[in-house]
C-alpha cells in the first residue's frame, strides 16, 4: 500500500473496490508527489482543490456502488486538451492566459467515467518537438536521468507516469509524440487508429495526423483507458462511426502463430546497437512464446520524415492562423494597424520551432511550390500507406524499435532542427498511414536507460496489438522497472 505510485490502474481499481484506499487518499498521494518534485517540471497547471472535489464525488459514487470501472482513479492530461475552467496553454506563451470555456471530448469522457484529474502536463509548444525543450514553460527532465530529455511532445505526461506522479496520462501523437516519450521514459504509450478518438477540444497541430491516446505502465491499463476514450463524436468531422470497443476483453488470447513482420530497413543504418540488441532480445522472447517472424519491406518509409515535414507544417500553418490575439489568448501590448497587431501578437507568442514550422508550411503551400512540395508529399503518403497494405498481407503486426537511440541529453539537438526530426523516423510512417501503433518497455540499455519496442497493427486492429503487448508483459517485467530516484 505504501507504494501506491508504482501500481497499475488495474491494481488501483481493486484497491478502490475493496476499500483498501479511497479516491481522496489516492488523489492526495499523487498531489503530494507532484508537489514534492522539484526536478521534472512535468506539470504546467495543478489545481489541487479541484482535484480533491472530483475525488470526493468519486468516493460518494464508489460508496454507492454507482461508479464505473475507472471511478476514483487519478490521471493527468496533456496541456493540449481543453479543460473547462482550467488553464490550457499547449506549451505556448500565446495561450498563457487561456482558461478554456469547454472540455475536450477526451476529457469529458474520462470525467464521466469518474476519473480524477491531477493536472495539466508540460509539452513541446503546440506539440512541435521531440524533446520537450520547446515548451514556453521550461524543459522537462527524464526521471531516469535528470540531464536527459523525456522525449516529446508528450514529455510531461511520460515523465509524470514514469516517476509515479500520476498512474496514467493522456497524450497526443502526430508523428510519434506519444510513443517516442513513452520509449524514452520506459512506459507504455498507444496511438490509436486515426478517427478512433475524438479530436474535439484537442488543440490542432496537423489535423490529418493528430490522434489522442493513453500513456500508462502497462498495455492492460492502456486498454482500460482506450475503452473509454474511443467512440464516435459528432463534434469531430473525422470521427469514425464505430461500435463500442472492448479492448480489455481481447488481451488474453495466446499469441501462438501470430505473424510478426520485421522491416529490415528499421534495423539498419542509424539504429544504435544498444537499442537494436534489446529489441532483438524482445523479439526472441516473442518467438519463444510462439510468434512467427516474417521479413517484410516498407521501402517508401525511408522517405516518411521528408514527407511528414511538408504535410505536418503545411497543416500547422493553416491551423495556427487562429492564434491572432482577437478572441482569446495573448495580445501584444503595443501595435499599429490590424496586420501589425497580428504580427506582433504572433511573434511574441510563438517560439522559434513553431515559427520555423509555420514558415515551412507557408512556403510549401505558396503559389509555385505547391506541386513540388505539398502535392508530392501527399503522393508519397499514399505509397507509404500502400507499403503497409502489402506488408500486412504477410504478417499480423509489424515490430521494430520505437526510437533510434535512448533518451539524449538536454541541449544536444536544440541547434539542429533536422537532427531532432530524425528521432521520429520509426514512428512517423504509422501516422501518415493512419494506423494504430504503440511503444512498450523492452528493457534497459547498459547505462540503465529505457528502450521501447514499437508495434504497428492494421487499421482498427488495436486489439491485436494490445493483446501481443499484454502477453509480452505477462512474460517479462520490463514494465515494472522504476527509476531509482522516484521509488
Amino acid at each position: 500500500m505504501d507504494k501506491l505510485h508504482q501500481k497499475t490502474l488495474t491494481e488501483l481499481q481493486s484497491f478502490l473496490r475493496d476499500g483498501e484506499c479511497s479516491a481522496r487518499e489516492l488523489a492526495e498521494h499523487f498531489l503530494q508527489r507532484i508537489d514534492a518534485d522539484d526536478q521534472l517540471n512535468a506539470f504546467i497547471t495543478v489545481d489541487s482543490q479541484r482535484t480533491l472535489e472530483q475525488a470526493k464525488q468519486a468516493d460518494i459514487d464508489l460508496n454507492k456502488n454507482s461508479g464505473s470501472a475507472l471511478t476514483g482513479i487519478p490521471l493527468a492530461h496533456k496541456d493540449i486538451f481543453c479543460t473547462d475552467g482550467l488553464l490550457t496553454t499547449c506549451g505556448s506563451k500565446i495561450l498563457n492566459n487561456f482558461v478554456s470555456p469547454y472540455d475536450a471530448t477526451v476529457v469529458s469522457r474520462l470525467n464521466t467515467a469518474g476519473m480524477v484529474t491531477l493536472g495539466k502536463t508540460n509539452m513541446d509548444e503546440f506539440a512541435m518537438g521531440s524533446s520537450n525543450e520547446t515548451s514556453y514553460y521550461g524543459a522537462v527532465s527524464n526521471p531516469w536521468k535528470i540531464d536527459a530529455v523525456p522525449g516529446g511532445s508528450s514529455g510531461g505526461s511520460a515523465a509524470a507516469v514514469a516517476a509515479g506522479l500520476a498512474p496514467a496520462a493522456t497524450g497526443t501523437d502526430t508523428g510519434g509524440s506519444i510513443r517516442q516519450p513513452a520509449a524514452f521514459c520506459g512506459i507504455t504509450g498507444v496511438k490509436p487508429s486515426y478517427g478512433r478518438v475524438s479530436r474535439y477540444g484537442m488543440i490542432a497541430f496537423a489535423s490529418s495526423l493528430d490522434q489522442a491516446g493513453p500513456m500508462t505502465r502497462t498495455a492492460e491499463d492502456a486498454a482500460l483507458l482506450l475503452d473509454v476514450m474511443c467512440g464516435f463524436d459528432e463534434h469531430d468531422s473525422t470521427s469514425l462511426r464505430q461500435d463500442p470497443v472492448n479492448f480489455s476483453a481481447q488481451l488474453d488470447k495466446p499469441i501462438e502463430g501470430v505473424k510478426i513482420g520485421l522491416p529490415k530497413s528499421f534495423f539498419s543504418e542509424g539504429l544504435d546497437a544498444e537499442v537494436g540488441d534489446v529489441v532483438d532480445t524482445a523479439i526472441k522472447t516473442l518467438e519463444k512464446m510462439g510468434a512467427i517472424i516474417v521479413d517484410i519491406a516498407l521501402p517508401t518509409s525511408e522517405l516518411a520524415v521528408p514527407c511528414y515535414y511538408v504535410l505536418a507544417p503545411a497543416e500547422a500553418s493553416s491551423n495556427l492562423s487562429r492564434f491572432d490575439g482577437v478572441r482569446f489568448g495573448h495580445r501584444a501590448q503595443e501595435y499599429g494597424d490590424l496586420d501589425d497587431m497580428y504580427q506582433k501578437t504572433r511573434s511574441e507568442g510563438f517560439g522559434d520551432e513553431v515559427k520555423r514550422r509555420i514558415m515551412i508550411g507557408t512556403y510549401a503551400l505558396s503559389s509555385g511550390y505547391y506541386d513540388a512540395y505539398y502535392s508530392k508529399a501527399q503522393k508519397l503518403r499514399r505509397l507509404i500507406s500502400n507499403d503497409f497494405d502489402l506488408a500486412f498481407k504477410q504478417c499480423d503486426v509489424i515490430l521494430g524499435p520505437t526510437t533510434p537511440s535512448v533518451a539524449f541529453d538536454k541541449n544536444a539537438k536544440t541547434d539542429d532542427p533536422v537532427a531532432m526530426y530524425l528521432n521520429d523516423t520509426y514512428t512517423i510512417p504509422a501516422n501518415l498511414a493512419g494506423l494504430p501503433a504503440m511503444s512498450l518497455p523492452a528493457g534497459l540499455s547498459p547505462q540503465g536507460m529505457p528502450i521501447g519496442l514499437h508495434i504497428v497493427a492494421p487499421y482498427m486492429e488495436e486489439g491485436r496489438m494490445l493483446n501481443l503487448a499484454h502477453q509480452f508483459q505477462l512474460n517479462t517485467d520490463f514494465h515494472r522497472a522504476f527509476p531509482e530516484a522516484y521509488v
Binding site: 470555456p101 478517427g195 520524415v305 482569446f328 494597424d337 497587431m341 505558396s366 503522393k379 532542427p417 533536422v418
Partner: protein, 95 residues
C-alpha cells in the same frame, strides 16, 4: 533550394510573423536545411500516384441544417483580450 533573408521576410509576412534581420539570418539557414531534408522526396517517382489527402478516403459527413448550439457569447468573450457590447475589438480596418 536556397532561402535568402528576403525570402524569409516574404514567407514571414505571409504567415503574419515579424522577423528581425538577425532572426532572418538564423531562420534562412535553418529553413534551408529543412528544405534540403524535404527534397529527398524527389528520389521517388510518383508520376502516376494519386495524392492521399487523408488517412482514409472518406467524404466529410453532412448534418441536417438546424440550430444545435446555444448562444454562449458572454462566456466566450470573458476570455477575449478586448470586447465591447458583445463585439471583439480590433484596430480600425476601414476609415
Amino acid at each position: 533550394m536556397t532561402i535568402s533573408n528576403e525570402d524569409v521576410q516574404k514567407i514571414a509576412r505571409l504567415a503574419r510573423l515579424e522577423v528581425s534581420e538577425n532572426q532572418a539570418i538564423k531562420f534562412s539557414g535553418e529553413l534551408e536545411k529543412i528544405l534540403h531534408l524535404v527534397e529527398k522526396m524527389e528520389a521517388c517517382d510518383t508520376a502516376s500516384v494519386e495524392p492521399m489527402t487523408h488517412p482514409f478516403d472518406a467524404a466529410l459527413r453532412l448534418r441536417e441544417d438546424k440550430i444545435t448550439e446555444t448562444n454562449q457569447r458572454d462566456k466566450f468573450q470573458t476570455i477575449a483580450p478586448a470586447t465591447q457590447d458583445g463585439l471583439y475589438l480590433v484596430p480600425k480596418v476601414i476609415d
